[in-house]
């Protein structure tokens, strides 16, 4: 059995009826998100083993001393085979880590997989620690973190400090993903100041910039027929931020957006308010992926062009996708991150 086949089974992508990474699977035995949850921090920063999937997803837009823009990703996914924590090898909690550094010319990717029951990967809320192998996101709490990861050709070591509050998407953290009501719990910490050192084949680079952490967990966030998504996290020069995604599928798809004012006050926009139009595609890893977008949120006067800093930011991992830093021009200037999944 080669690892690839195995992983494809593990993160079942193959079955066409299912959505990206099997997120549309039925939720037998797993808890299902419901509106009105009262979040319990810091406990909720930790893992929720009774939900099928969960992630700690950090992206950062950084700048080097010479003004070169860099993108950085640190992601930990949890995928449960059964709704229990468990111990030892038999524990049904599986973990997958993705780390990447994007420069205008290069894109470095690494992936890690681990079993949860033996201590190789996991997340604890107090003190906060999310780890897989030697990759870690550690801190006394979520406000001050040290973030490390690396692969065969890169490594990074960053310090993150939050300068604003947590932000809740959808209905106070209950984020709908389809008209049929599939949903996830979803909150973010988009206010990290990031500083640290990137180790690249050319040498070490001191960088600084902004980071954005997404926390999301669910058991079946995608509806049948939804094949992938285009997700934007944009930080505008005036201090406002926009999180928006479009779930592609049959028909017009399903969109959602959160407007985050400079003071952290959020406004959720339901399906249809956000419009994302691909303007130009680039051939990446044997397929065409849109790398230039027009993103509109008329309710907030947003009409911007989102452009990939490096169109080749393809995550060649067991479930491949596109994830990379972008620049924003138009009605608002700024930068951010773009994630696109389900492009066959």
């Amino acid at each position: 059995m080669n690892a690839r086949v195995f992983l494809l089974c593990l993160w079942p992508l193959a079955a066409q009826a299912q959505g990206f990474a099997g997120l549309g699977a039925t939720a037998d035995g797993f808890a299902v998100p419901a509106p009105g949850r009262v979040f319990d921090f810091p406990a909720d920063h930790g893992a929720h083993p009774d939900y099928r999937i969960e992630w700690w997803y950090l992206t950062a837009n950084l700048t080097g001393p010479d003004g070169t823009p860099y993108g950085l990703q640190w992601t930990l996914f949890r995928s449960a085979l059964a709704p229990e924590a468990g111990e030892g090898w038999a524990a049904p909690q599986l973990w997958m880590g993705h780390a990447a550094v994007t420069t205008p010319e290069a894109h470095y990717v690494a992936e890690r997989l681990a079993r949860g029951g033996i201590g190789q990967a996991g997340v604890t809320a107090v003190p906060f620690s999310a780890w897989i192998d030697d990759w870690a996101l550690n801190g006394i709490d979520l406000d001050t973190l040290r973030m490390t990861a690396g692969g065969a050709a890169f490594a990074y070591d960053m310090v993150l400090s939050a300068t604003g509050p947590l932000v809740f998407h959808g209905d106070a953290g209950y984020s709908e993903k389809s008209a049929e009501g599939q949903a996830s719990y979803y909150y973010s910490q988009p206010y990290y100041q990031v500083e640290g050192v990137l180790t690249l084949p050319e040498g070490d680079v001191r960088v600084s910039g902004q980071g954005w952490l997404d926390r999301e967990w669910s058991s079946q966030p995608l509806a049948e027929g939804q094949s992938g998504w285009d997700w934007f996290s944009l930080s505008f020069d005036d201090g406002a931020k926009l999180m928006g995604f479009v779930l592609r599928g049959e028909g017009a798809g399903y969109s959602s957006a959160t407007w985050i004012a400079p003071d952290g006050v959020t406004t959720a926009f339901a399906d249809g308010a956000l419009v994302a139009t691909p303007l130009q595609s680039a051939p990446v890893a044997g397929r065409d992926v849109p790398v230039l977008w027009r993103v509109e949120l008329p309710a907030r006067g947003v009409d911007v062009t989102v452009k990939a800093i490096n169109p080749g930011a393809w995550m060649e991992v067991s479930v491949p996708y596109w994830e990379g830093p972008v620049t924003v021009t138009g009605s608002h200037g700024g930068r951010g991150y773009l994630e696109m999944t389900g492009y066959e």
Binding site: A3, G86, W89
Partner: protein, 797 residues
């Protein structure tokens, strides 16, 4: 017009069914030999690949406990958390089956037992009751397992693979790891191994798996055998087709005289031959399959016994050798027919179908042939002297064999000329001259016999030398009656104390992995014991080598280290940071991929005071072995797996060699049979053509009986001469295989021994084959009705 031409061409075969049979049978036999050997090779290789894929042996570096014991699972997690991309493997025997537990999430690509199809239940593999993927031959033994057993034909033979958690549970080894596989690409940043897990040693990846390296030697032998048998086969095919063309010249002439265009004729004959080759090739592959199926269980047992490599004892039809077998038949035919077809196109329209055409043409080509033979033999000599590497080794083999085959008719011709010159009496003079005159027609068959015979001598020498050497080697590495392994230094100390009063001698085996002369090596200790003095054989040693070693004034190195580092006796080698010693002896260490050096025990303990012996050799009177073994297990509590009974290993190894011999003997008989068949074919064909030459001799008063006797005598004489030439050729072949090819492939040279009794037996077989081949034509000649002989003269004008 095509239809009638085909009918006319086919009528030749209809009138000469024997010729058709010889052509088909020759092709089929040659193909069978080739594909049989290929089948065995392919099957065995597939088995290793499965084993290597399961275990990741050799392909990846590994971390193993320095004391040879188990690794704590915590060390695994600590290494992962320090940036080491390692994957745990736990391995053990369960009801006679090798159970391998892996972690599919961290295993480097390509490791794993089975191809999980889409829809496979990963949850069931990773968690819950567990799934064990077992090779079909291991399923029965695992019947009452507390896990689901799934038949996995891809798994290595005798092996079952499961998740590491399930394996730990089934083997009762919770929290334990046997070894860690190191992914080939490691992160840019990671903490040093010595800091994270100082108790582990990194064993770097090697080119092939351990098993693969060892068994490659065996396969190389088989491959060489396959090539040789193919050469024999091609000679046969060439002969069969050449003769068929010779005999069909009248038909061709008639057809062309009737207006059939030459191009169409050539095209049709080529198509006809290819059709025949296809039929014969298929039959040959089927026959080869039968041969392989009959031999494979022995080969499998040989490999398992010799090297612990599990090879499936059953054959699966693999397209690789099916296709290669057919390709050989078609290619061989094309090669053989190309020349004949070309000659046909150049033949004048009405050239008479002279039966002597071939021998006359051969006479014209004799000089060219001599030049070719000399050139090839010179090339072989040059390669032997100055060539290096595997390619040169095989080039040398090819040049040697082809040169010898080309030279054979010329040498025989000289011998015949000599006999003719010395002959007294008319009949003797005629016998020599007639034999000489027949040589061109028989040369192909004789060349086949030469090659078959040489191959047999060469392979027999190689296998027997291998056996002698290996048994001697076993004697050395297994000098003690029992070997015991302890888990750690504490248990070792207890054991030494416990066992000392119960046995004749305790030989602790200390070892440390260190680079020697810049190569990855292991340094071992040897106690100054009579055991070693009596049993060791050196490839090269200074006088009183054991005294030098005991005095701590010398070091022994294995052949691999000596060859790779270019060490000779007297060269100094660093055995510790501050200690260098001269090489006092070089010993053969077959199958060990890395270097090894041995110093005397007191010196070892002085140099490495921290290293405790965890392995011991126990000298025990043979009749007490069983008692001590049981006491070790029952009273001292050592697991049975930690006790190795030397006598049992040796007895098993010897039985394995007996099986190897059975395999080689069977192949020998087959090649000789093929060569004998070629001879029969040539003689049968010549018999009809020679009637006009024999009729006058008969008319001059030699009886038909006498003629038949001379025919038989001639065949035996030629076979004796050929066998006499084959012996040195075979020995040269063996030398190339042992001293050139083996060294190039594995870094060690097998000493060559001679086995005159075997050669005599082989020679006898060859004579028997030739005699049998000549018997029928001779009998036919003896019974030829006088009317047929008389008819020869009726055409005289």
């Amino acid at each position: 017009m095509t239809g009638p031409v085909i009918a006319a061409l086919w009528s030749h075969w209809r009138r000469n069914p024997l010729q058709l049979f010889t052509l088909l049978a020759g092709l089929a036999l040659a193909t069978a030999l080739w594909s049989g050997v290929q089948a065995i090779n392919a099957e065995a290789r597939a088995s290793y690949d499965a084993a290597a894929a399961t275990l990741g042996e050799g392909r990846y570096g590994q971390l193993i406990a320095r004391d040879g014991g188990v690794i704590a699972q915590d060390s695994y997690v600590a290494l992962r958390r320090a940036g080491w991309l390692v994957s745990p493997v736990v391995e053990g025997r369960l009801q006679g089956v090798r159970l391998v537990g892996i972690d599919p999430l961290t295993a480097p690509g390509g490791i794993g037992p089975v191809t999980l199809g889409e829809g496979a239940d990963i949850g069931a593999f990773l968690a819950g009751r567990g799934q064990v993927f077992a090779h079909p031959d291991a399923v029965a033994a695992l019947a009452d397992l507390d896990a689901d057993v799934i038949v996995a034909p891809d798994a290595a033979p005798g092996t079952a693979v499961t998740d590491i958690g399930v394996a730990q549970r089934l083997l009762g080894r919770e929290g334990q790891v046997s070894r860690l596989i190191v992914a080939p690409v490691q992160p840019l940043v990671q903490r040093p191994l010595a800091e994270v897990a100082p108790e582990l040693d990194l064993r770097p990846a090697r080119g092939g798996s351990d098993i693969g390296r060892l068994t490659d030697s065996f396969h190389l032998n088989l491959t060489a055998f396959g090539l040789l048998s193919f050469a024999v086969g091609i000679f046969i095919v060439h002969g069969a087709i050449g003769l068929a063309f010779e005999q069909r010249r009248p038909v061709v002439r008639t057809l062309r005289a009737l207006g059939v265009p030459l191009g169409r004729l050539v095209w049709l004959m080529a198509a006809e031959l290819m059709g025949l080759a296809l039929v014969a090739g298929l039959a040959g592959v089927a026959l080869g399959y039968v041969v392989a199926a009959a031999l494979l269980p022995d080969v499998a047992a040989t490999l398992r016994g010799l090297y612990g490599a599990d090879v499936a004892g059953a054959l699966t039809l693999r397209p690789v050798w099916l296709v290669s077998g057919i390709a050989i038949a078609l290619g061989g035919t094309a090669l053989a027919a190309g020349g004949a077809l070309w000659r046909m196109t150049r033949m004048p329209l009405l050239a008479s179908a002279s039966p002597r055409a071939m021998s006359m043409a051969a006479g014209r080509g004799a000089r060219l042939q001599a030049v070719g033979a000399l050139g090839l033999l010179a090339l072989a000599g040059a390669l032997a002297l100055w060539g290096s590497g595997l390619v040169a080794g095989f080039g040398l083999l090819a040049a040697l064999l082809m040169g010898a085959a080309l030279a054979l008719p010329l040498v025989l011709d000289r011998v015949m000329a000599l006999g003719q010159g010395r002959a007294r009496g008319v009949v003797a003079g005629w016998f020599w001259a007639d034999t000489r005159q027949q040589l061109p027609g028989l040369s192909l068959a004789l060349a086949a016999l030469l090659l078959a015979m040489a191959a047999n001598v060469g392979v027999a020498t190689m296998v027997s030398s291998f056996r002698l050497t290996f048994v001697g080697f076993l004697d050395r590495v297994l000098t003690s009656e029992l070997y015991v392994y302890t888990a750690d230094a504490d248990q070792a100390a207890l054991l030494e104390e416990w066992v000392t009063p119960r046995v004749d001698d305790v030989l602790p085996l200390y070892s440390v992995a260190r680079g020697i002369a810049g190569l990855p090596s292991e340094l071992y200790s040897a106690r100054d014991a009579a055991t070693y003095r009596e049993n060791w054989r050196f490839l090269a040693a200074v006088p009183q080598v054991w005294d030098v070693l005991a005095a701590g004034e010398g070091v022994l190195v294995n052949e691999q280290l000596a060859r790779r580092a270019g060490l000779a006796l007297g060269d100094t080698v660093a055995v510790a940071a501050d200690r260098a010693l001269p090489v006092a002896g070089i010993y053969g260490d077959y199958g060990n991929p890395i270097g090894q050096a041995i110093v005397t025990e007191p010196l070892f303990r002085a140099l490495y005071p921290d290293i405790a012996a965890t392995r011991f050799g126990l000298r025990i009177a043979p009749e007490e072995v069983a008692g001590v073994r049981d006491a070790l297990r029952d009273d001292f509590g050592l697991p049975a797996a930690n006790i190795v009974d030397q006598a049992a290993i040796k007895a098993f190894s010897l039985s394995v060699f007996e099986r190897t011999f059975k395999v080689t003997t069977a192949l020998n008989v087959l090649t000789l049979a093929v060569a004998g068949f070629a001879m029969l074919m040539s003689l049968l064909t010549l018999a009809t053509m020679r009637l006009p030459q024999l009729a006058p001799v008969w008319a001059l008063g030699l009886t038909r009986r006498a003629l038949g006797r001379y025919e038989l005598l001639r065949a035996v004489l030629l076979a004796v001469l050929t066998a006499a030439l084959a012996l040195p050729l075979g020995l040269a072949l063996a030398w190339v295989l042992l001293a050139v090819v083996n060294v190039a492939a594995f870094g060690w040279r097998l000493p060559m021994f001679f086995f005159p009794a075997d050669y005599a037996r082989l020679g006898l077989f060859a004579l028997l084959a030739a005699g049998l081949a000549a018997l029928w034509p001779a009998l036919r000649l003896a019974r030829t009705p006088p009317a047929v002989l008389l008819k020869v003269f009726s055409n005289e004008r």
